[in-house]
Amino acid sequence: MQPHPLHSHDVVIVGGGLTGLRAALEASRAGLDVAVISKVHPLRSHSVAAQGGINAALGNAPGGEDDTWGKHAFDTVKGSDFLADQDAVETLCRDAPAAVVELEHMGTVFSRLPDGRIAQRPFGGAGFPRTCYCADRTGHNLLHTLFEQGVGRRLKVYDEYFVTSLVVTDKRCSGCIALDLSDGTLHGFAAKAVLLATGGYGRIYARSTNALINTGDGAALAWRAGLPLEDMEFVQFHPTTLYGTNILISEAARGEGGYLLNSRRERFMKRYAEQAMELAPRDIVARAIQTEIDVGRGFKNEYVLLDLTHLGAERINERLPGIRQIARDFAGADLVREPIPVQPGQHYSMGGVPAETDGSTLVRGLFAAGECACVSVHGANRLGGNSLLETIVFGRRAGAAMVESARAVPAPAAEPLEAALAQELARIDRLLSRERTERVNNIRDDLMMTMFEMFGVFRDEARMREGLGILTHLKSRLDGVGIGTRQSSYNQALVAALELEGMLEVAETVARSALNRLESRGSHARTDFPARDDANWLVHSMAWNRGGQVEIVHKPVAVGMFPVEARQY
């Protein structure tokens, strides 16, 4: 029998990406005992892959002098197809300039204007050049900066620990259970406040730009703890992912002046967004590309071209060196000399664990922020440059709120933690001793293809019903999943099986929420309900776990500053 260590911290943060690290810094600065738990080393988190930048109305760039947080807020709300909660958007955009300056004061090497101020570039759906950037490696630079700051604070990190469940009793969270991947032991973590900062659920889809680790673990943990999931049908498809691997090709490529071309070599965006052209919001550009492909104006019925050749080598090397390297490494193409093949791919999860602007959720002591949460600042479609911003703004706010929360409660009782530990031990033991009739990857591959084909860029009732039937069948196949090895060290097959259970639960909430919404809004485009329907559907979808069944309940949208209007670009 292996020992099962118990740990106790004031604050436990699940996830070591930008949100988690920013929250951890806040709580650590307040003098609390903070621990970060992550299934990968923090520097391997998906935040590292963000390319284009972070939005803030600094007004630095030529032509951007008149930018304000209010204009940023309007663009964000319009981009969201008016589904975002406007009070939350106000918080996001008001906090933005200070968030960027703070990152700079932590040492981030932002790209600069000739006078030394932070440079800003145009991005989709934005009225001004508002996106601050570190070439096209913004996430990498921010993540390394925050990790460095964490080293400076001697932040406690449990890396390569996979959280298997939250400890929730009487609607209060008092810790979590995690599997130490290096030796297979289960650990109990008692905490006065727990933050979910686990990122999105992109990997339930085939053709995703996301890291392989983005399996929606936080959403699944919350779901099993009895929390609803909000707006899960809103899944962002990025217009330009590299054909073949679906690695992200940043919106910055179009922000810097790139063209999208169909097989007739025409800039087809003129038919879809006459003014904004390639810099329309992502949902619109993704649908335009998919439409061109569907009507036969793509290449091989799979992709269109992204042409940067007219930008010249110098500008590309300065502003877009990362995607030049990606195109070279993964498509064998030099985008200085030739256009590259791109297609829409899953990119971002607008939905998630419903959370307030201070990260609090419906369970006391449990907080959520970043991509795993739904605040909701992105509504039905997120603008490029707002996700990095969200991690910093709401990571900080959640960290501060957890400090207050942790100070107000005594150390949690030991019994719920021990009971949860025993439960998880039994669960993992069952999984490890089960005879294998199914392989994890077979079910996962079917799941990903089903989500991509039935709940993709365009949706309709018949396909979604068929998709739901497949999902139900996949869930029944879960009982046959077995692990071929009982090894305790780095048993990745076990982790994959645990991830898969959550992926199927999360996928069902996406499917049910999508089927339920009888309109088209933002990223949710239904061919059988092509119009937006504000009279009936200006509401958030809350998917509740009713004894294993998904029930959808509506929640009003916070409208205020900006009246709901038609959305044109």
């Binding site: 998906h46 300056v101 700079e104 932590m106 600069r112 080293v151 305790s488």
Partner: protein
């Protein structure tokens, strides 16, 4: 094509090379081949992964004796991508393989092996922590950004591009024989801070590694630069830091840019891979 993978099982201490048949096709990477093996053939195989897009630094392994990111290494191009490395005698006798039909995948040398291709990064990150890799802002910060010239940004980017994948550490012969050497990645990171014009203008940063295990341990093999997947040149940073210390009159010994003072292996290593013996490698406390 045969994927020849070095296995290490910490529960038994056993080391073996397993052979797996894989069909190379355009676009198939070493990482996807490893997934193919784990998902279809042997799910006890362990290796690190995350972004699969050459930005997170998780999946550095030794492919045909060269440290590379598994995710950006194409199976059908491994043989044709020649990377010339200065020999590392601490690696001992290499495991034989036929590059015409075999691809040899091994864990990074100079790290303890924990399981198969998963290695212990604790020594690597101890050096990273020792350099105090956090920005020291000047006093009197305002609510605006500190100014920074675009030319300075360009120079800093050369080093901030590092993803801490450990490839340079694995390729460096000095890291193989000197357990105390900070290594190329940590020194490149330190140089990035030393060069940052926004920090107070003192020499605290270059002084930080002004010690035998710091800047002065490097012997300019330049394998670090040759294997870096992000084009970072730690050797240039180290040379520049030494010159600055010399200008300050702080260099402990005369600067020698090129030496080939290569010694025989000294530690108890598994022949061919450079990590500690399996018994020690399996014990994370060693």
């Amino acid at each position: 094509m045969v994927l020849k993978v070095r296995r290490f099982d910490p529960s038994t201490g056993s080391v073996s090379y397993d052979h797996f048949d894989v069909k190379p096709k355009p676009g198939l990477t070493v990482l996807s081949a490893l997934f193919y093996v784990q998902e279809r053939i042997d799910d006890s195989l362990s290796f690190r992964y995350s972004c699969r897009g050459a930005v997170c630094g998780s999946c550095a392994v030794l492919v045909n004796r060269v440290p590379r990111l598994a995710c950006r290494t194409q199976l059908d191009a491994v043989g044709s991508e020649a990377v010339e490395l200065k020999p590392d005698p601490t690696l001992g006798e290499p495991e034989p393989f036929n590059p015409r039909h075999e691809i040899l995948v091994e864990p990074l040398p100079h790290f303890h092996v924990l399981k198969d291709l998963v290695v212990d990064f604790r020594r690597f990150f101890r050096f990273y922590e020792a350099l105090e890799p956090f920005f020291r802002p000047p006093e009197g910060l305002l609510d605006r950004e500190l100014r920074l010239e675009p030319a300075a940004v360009k120079e800093l980017e050369t080093y901030t591009n590092c993803i801490q994948c450990g490839a340079c550490f694995a390729a460096c012969p000095v890291c193989g024989r000197n357990q105390g050497y900070w290594g190329p990645a940590a020194l490149a990171k330190l140089y990035r801070f030393a060069q940052d014009p926004r920090e107070p203008a003192d020499d605290a940063r270059v002084e930080k590694a002004n010690r035998p295990d710091g800047w002065w341990a490097c012997e300019f093999f330049a394998n670090c630069r040759a294997v870096c997947p992000k084009g970072v040149p730690p050797n240039l940073a180290i040379g520049a830091a030494r010159r600055r210390l010399q200008e300050l009159g702080r260099a402990p010994v005369p600067v020698q840019e090129e030496t080939s003072n290569v010694q025989a292996p000294t530690s108890n290593q598994v022949p061919g891979t450079g990590e500690q013996s399996p018994q020690e490698a399996g014990n994370p406390n060693v």
